[in-house]
Amino acid sequence: MWFLCVFFHRLLDYRKPEVESLALLFGDQTQADQNQDNALEWRLPKHHHPDSPFHFVNLPSQDLARNIANRSILVKGIYEIWGEGSSYEELEESIKSYPEDRKLPYLTSGSTFKITVDSFGKVISLQEQNGRLKNLAYIPFKGRVNLKNPDHRFWLMETDDSGANNGLPPVAQRRIFFGREVGGADRKLLPTYQLKSRMYIGPTAMDAEVAFLMANQALAAPGKLVYDPFVGTGSILVAAAHFGAMTMGADIDIRVVRDGRGPDCNVWSNFKQYGLPMPIALLRADNNLPPWRPGLKEVVFNAIICDPPYGVRAGGRKSGGRKLLKGTVSPYTVPDDKRTDHIPSTGAYSLVECVHDLLDLAARMLVMGGRLVFFYPVLREDDDFVENHFPDHPCFRLVASSEQILSSRYSRVLLTMVKMGPYTDEVAETARMRHLDFKENHLKWLENGNLHSSVFSPADPLPTDSKFSKDPKKKYRGKYV
C-alpha cells in the first residue's frame, strides 16, 4: 500500500534510512529475514527532486505506517493520499475518482475531523487557506469539525512552483496533495531533551535530534541492551533509554563516568532528569583493551551506538601512557599501597586503531542481527570519495550511511552496520588484514591530529608579518600555559 511520507526538511540523508530501520523494528519480526535486503520501495511524486520532502513509500499496513510516523524524528507525517494534481481542478478529479469505500468510513456523520492547509516553500495566508478549504466542498464531509482533538485529520499540502525552493533545485510544476493522516510525528521530544536544558553535558555531547536518530538506527526498544563504548556524558544512551532499551556505557576518562560535576550533575543525573531508568553500568574501560570475559561472545549487546573520538573536538586515548606506548619504558606494576585509587595513564589513540577496535568489539559482542551505529568523519576535499572507503569488517554489512555536513572542510557520516556472520578467529584475522590495508590507504589524514589540522588550519597561509616571525619564542598550548 502506497503512502505519502512527508519529511521535515532537515538532515536529508538520514530520512530514508530512519524510516527503513523503523519499518524493520515495527515490522513482522518473523518475516524480517536479516539476509534479505529489507529496503522499502520508494517513489517520488511527479516533477520532484530526490531531496524533496515529499516521498511515496510502500508499506505493508496502516498500523506499521502509524508506528513509524509516531516514533520517527524526521517524518512529519504519513498520509493516505486521496488525490493529487498539478492544479486544483486536477486534484478534484483525482479525489473524486478515489474509491468510495476507502473514503466513506472517514466521512461518517458521527465522527469529527480537521483539515490543515500546509505548504512547502511558501506561506499561505489565512484567507487563502479558507478559500482553499471552501473549494473542497465536493468532498461529502458529514462529520463535525473539531480542531483540538479530531478523530480524523486531513491535510491539503502544496508545493510552490517558484524558482527558489528552500535551496532545492526548482520544482518544475507545483503539486497539490490531499490525504488523510495515518500517523504524525512527535517532535515534542526534542525540546524536552534539548542539550541546553540538560544538567551535565560535555564539549562533544550529542545533539538530541541526532542522538534519537542514532537510537532509531540501532533499533533501540524495550528488553534490548545498548552499549556505548565512548559514553562521555551519556547523551546517546539517554536517547536509547527513552525508547525503553537498557543501557550500558564505558569511557576511558574516569572523570566523566565517576565524578561528573558533582552529586547532582553527572551521567546518572541526566537519566534522572528525564525519569529514565538508570544505565545498568558505567565502566571506566579502554576500547583498546576491553575487559570482557572470554566466554562472552555473540550474546550480550543488541546494539552498539557511539560517536568515536576522531580528534577534532576530542581526541582518543588508550591505556598505557606516551612513554609506555613508544616502548621507552617497560610495563610497570603499581605498588600495592598505591593500587586502591590508581588511575592508569593514557596515551594517544588514533582513529583508525579506534575504529578497528570498535569493529572487533562489535563483531564479538553483538547478537546476530545486532546493529553497530557510529559516526565516521570524512574530509570533503576527497572528491574521489566512494562508499568502499568506509571501514568494514567481514561480520558486518553496511545498511545505511548518512552524511551530515559539518563545515566546508569536513562532514561526518552515520554508518549503520548489521552483524551478519559469527565471529571466529579466522574472521578476526581477515579483519586485521583488511584493517592494515585500510590503514595504508588512509594514513595521510586519519592518523592522529591530521584530521584536526585539516579541519582547523587556515585556508590560505596568511602573509607572515616580519615583526611576528622574528619572535623566536615558541608558543605552547598545554595544561599549564
Binding site: M246, P277, L283, R284, P291, W292, G295, L296, V299
Partner: protein, 118 residues
C-alpha cells in the same frame, strides 16, 4: 557495580588466560530499587554465566539463588524472576575490590572506586 556488570568483566592483564570470574571483596553493599523488566531478564538469562552470578551474589551476602543453573522454565515463575532480578540488578557493590582469579592480585584496573569498576 551490579552483578550483571561483574558477570561480563574479566581480568585483562597481559598473560592472564582466564580472568573470569573476578573474586569480590566486599567492603560495602547497597541495594537500589530497580523496576523489574521481565523481557530484559529473559533476554539476559541465557547470556549469564550462572556460576559467576551465584558466587558473586553469595559474596555480597545474598543466598537465595540456587547453585545449579535453573531450567529455562523457571523464567515463568515470578518468584524466581524477582530473585534473579534482585541479584542481577539491585545489589550494588559500593565499595570493595575485584580480585583476579589467576594471579590473586587486586588487578589495578579492577578495584572499585565508589561503585565504579575501573
Amino acid at each position: 557495580m551490579r552483578l550483571l556488570t561483574h558477570n561480563m568483566l574479566s581480568s585483562n592483564i597481559k598473560g592472564v588466560t582466564n580472568g573470569f570470574p573476578l573474586g569480590i571483596e566486599v567492603v560495602k553493599v547497597v541495594e537500589k530499587q530497580v523496576e523489574l523488566n521481565a523481557d530484559f531478564l529473559k533476554n539476559m538469562f541465557h547470556k549469564i554465566d550462572w556460576k559467576g552470578l551465584v558466587d558473586g551474589s553469595r559474596a555480597m551476602g545474598y543466598f537465595e539463588l540456587p547453585g545449579e543453573p535453573p531450567e529455562t522454565s523457571a523464567l515463568e515463575s515470578e518468584e524466581f524472576l524477582s530473585k534473579f532480578h534482585h541479584a542481577l540488578l539491585e545489589l550494588h557493590l559500593e565499595e570493595g575490590a575485584l580480585v583476579c582469579p589467576e594471579t590473586g592480585n587486586i588487578c589495578h584496573f579492577a578495584s572499585t572506586l565508589r561503585g565504579f569498576p575501573s
